[in-house]
Symmetry: C2
Subunit: 357 residues, 2 copies
């Protein structure tokens, strides 16, 4: 139904003398949008829900959050600033304002995406303005500006020195791999929007991992299965154990996998167990509930294997955030240590599957 990336009109200005106090602003819609599941719909939304009317209302709402989206541009400006307006989700005790509604800039150096600076959000207003990085050399740089995790972006302008060069980046990632999941995919407890495991995977593999995380959701509803199947992608990762009940997993996994498989006969489908939630480290009930859910999804995948479903893969959850219980912020959501471990543990497993495609 929807395929391809939103590539804004190339927007170029001639290079000139730098003056950090003298900025001009470029509407981000004239640059490159990275990480969208569908090219249609509201520019800063992750899904065009006019195509997916049956989705749960909360999932539709959460698809307006810009987690996983980034603006790609080339510039030789020695300063990068931004003005951005957000409609934030309600505050959460787990999230810094920076992750909730701030910006996060990466720049490529010697082939590696490296952190460059953050856009610090206003603590009292939805309209934000600030310098992200300054006093850089004036070589041409590939930039990727991650948008807020838990807010809808209403507008974004990127500020550069007057006369500096800026244009849309050529699309920086290959293929398209959807990751469907819960608040963990959404990025709850990342310190900033570029440190989710999804964002790290894209930067480190060069593949386009698309964030379809829905905090407090991802319960594998049939309408979500239909939605995922209708998005063209090269692979589908299902990281949706955390919020689903064992019964829901038993009832819904078959439909979810088969619906995607029917529309995409060749695409790898990769089912991921839950991370080991540290609230179950001493809480025996939580620990047992999670074990039951993880066993249930394993059984469902085994049944599908036995039924002959091909190119269906399974990643265990037990080592994803390490085993020292230091990898979550609240016992549920990975902190930046947990996300780093998830990315590094999943990367070779995923690349073994995706490299063969």
């Amino acid at each position: 139904m929807c395929r391809g990336y939103v590539v804004g009109m190339a927007f170029c200005l001639l290079a000139g003398m730098a003056n950090a106090q003298n900025l001009e602003y470029v509407d981000a819609r004239n640059l490159l949008m990275v990480g969208k599941a569908c090219s249609s719909g509201e520019y800063y939304h992750r899904l065009d829900t006019t195509f997916f009317k049956e989705l749960p209302p909360k999932v539709k709402y959460l698809s307006t959050h810009s987690c996983g989206l980034a603006i790609g541009f080339l510039t030789n400006s020695s300063i990068i600033s931004a003005k951005w307006e957000v409609k934030p989700d309600k505050p959460s005790p787990n999230l810094s304002a920076m992750a909730h509604r701030g910006l996060d800039l990466y720049i490529k150096r010697h082939g590696v995406w490296e952190f460059a600076g953050v856009g610090i959000p206003d603590m009292h207003a939805n309209m934000n303005e600030g310098t992200i990085v300054q006093d850089m050399d004036s070589t041409l740089k590939e930039c990727l500006l991650y948008l807020p995790l838990f807010s809808e972006v209403k507008s974004l302008e990127i500020g550069i020195e007057k006369g500096a060069f800026v244009s849309a980046l050529p699309y920086p990632f290959e293929k398209k791999v959807l990751i469907y999941g819960s608040s963990i995919v959404h990025g709850a407890e990342a310190s900033r929007s570029g440190t989710t495991y999804v964002a790290k995977l894209s930067r480190r593999t060069g593949l386009d991992f698309v964030n379809l995380g829905f905090s407090g959701n991802a319960r594998m509803e049939n309408s979500m299965a239909d939605c995922l199947a209708n998005i063209e992608a090269d692979a589908y990762i299902l990281d949706c154990v955390p919020n689903a009940t064992a019964d829901q997993i038993a009832e819904r996994t078959d439909y979810l996998v088969r619906t995607i498989r029917e529309k995409h006969p060749e695409a790898p489908i990769i089912v991921v167990q839950s991370i080991v939630m540290d609230i179950g480290n001493f809480n025996l009930k939580v620990k047992n509930d999670l074990l039951v859910k993880d066993r249930t999804i394993r059984k469902e995948v085994e049944k599908l294997w036995q039924a002959g479903v091909q190119n269906l893969h399974f990643i265990e959850g037990r080592d994803l955030i390490g085993n020292d219980h230091e990898g979550t912020g609240d016992g549920i959501h990975p902190n930046d240590l947990g996300f780093e471990r998830m990315a590094e543990t999943m990367k070779p497993k995923l690349m073994e599957i995706l490299d063969n495609e």
Copy 2:
């Protein structure tokens, strides 16, 4: 001037049948206070500033924050809850409410302190109440409940099942090692109060690392040198490059080190360079400023060595949070990945020095 730990009166109740809905509350002042620099003064403050009248007013204020403090207790209750009142610092874009004013519980298992649960703060009130962990087995457990990083605690009661046993923990750590520093020591951008590098070091070494981090401060004032020298400790770590200027470092290091050495002729004094701040990854001015400050502190330490100051140690900053630029939340403060790397990098260097004492 002040030495020793605040050990509350042992408070014991006979073990009985558990009923998670039926709690009784123990004032935390009847249990064990861990991590205080001085035993006198307000119970939940880090310093008794009536002894240190010359300290900068902002440092005095920040010493009311409970970062690094923890309540130690033994209990066989299957549920642990808390009611706590805070006077929070102003919100920061870098901090989650959990780190700002929440609680963080660790329990010892097979000799290792492991995460057990968090006390989630109210988003709109200073009075908080919540379950930290429940559905545990009823074996006797050693518990360490970390207090908020950026708030003053006004009161704290710990809830256990009616009839369960609770008492003050014997002091869990040996020796006393002061760490004087900036917001990085204070814990800015830890996801919760137990993930600062200071807290990790205590849990992993069994030594009592005492948090004297002062966000936005630690400028090595003479009054602070006098304060540190007047606190009895077995070693002194000076992690105070980040907020001091190069001139301040050049002017103040000698007085700081010599003042401590004069009062404590045998105690190791360990000077730490700044972490490599990732806002200087592309910002050439920030990068250079930090290099100058780090060179300055190294020169000052070398001068002191040449002058014959003994048992003065130096830890380089360049590898403390890794080299991939993923270890900070905002380019300045370590996120949980950075804190984990700091703790693991510093631990062997510190133990080599402290084991010989």
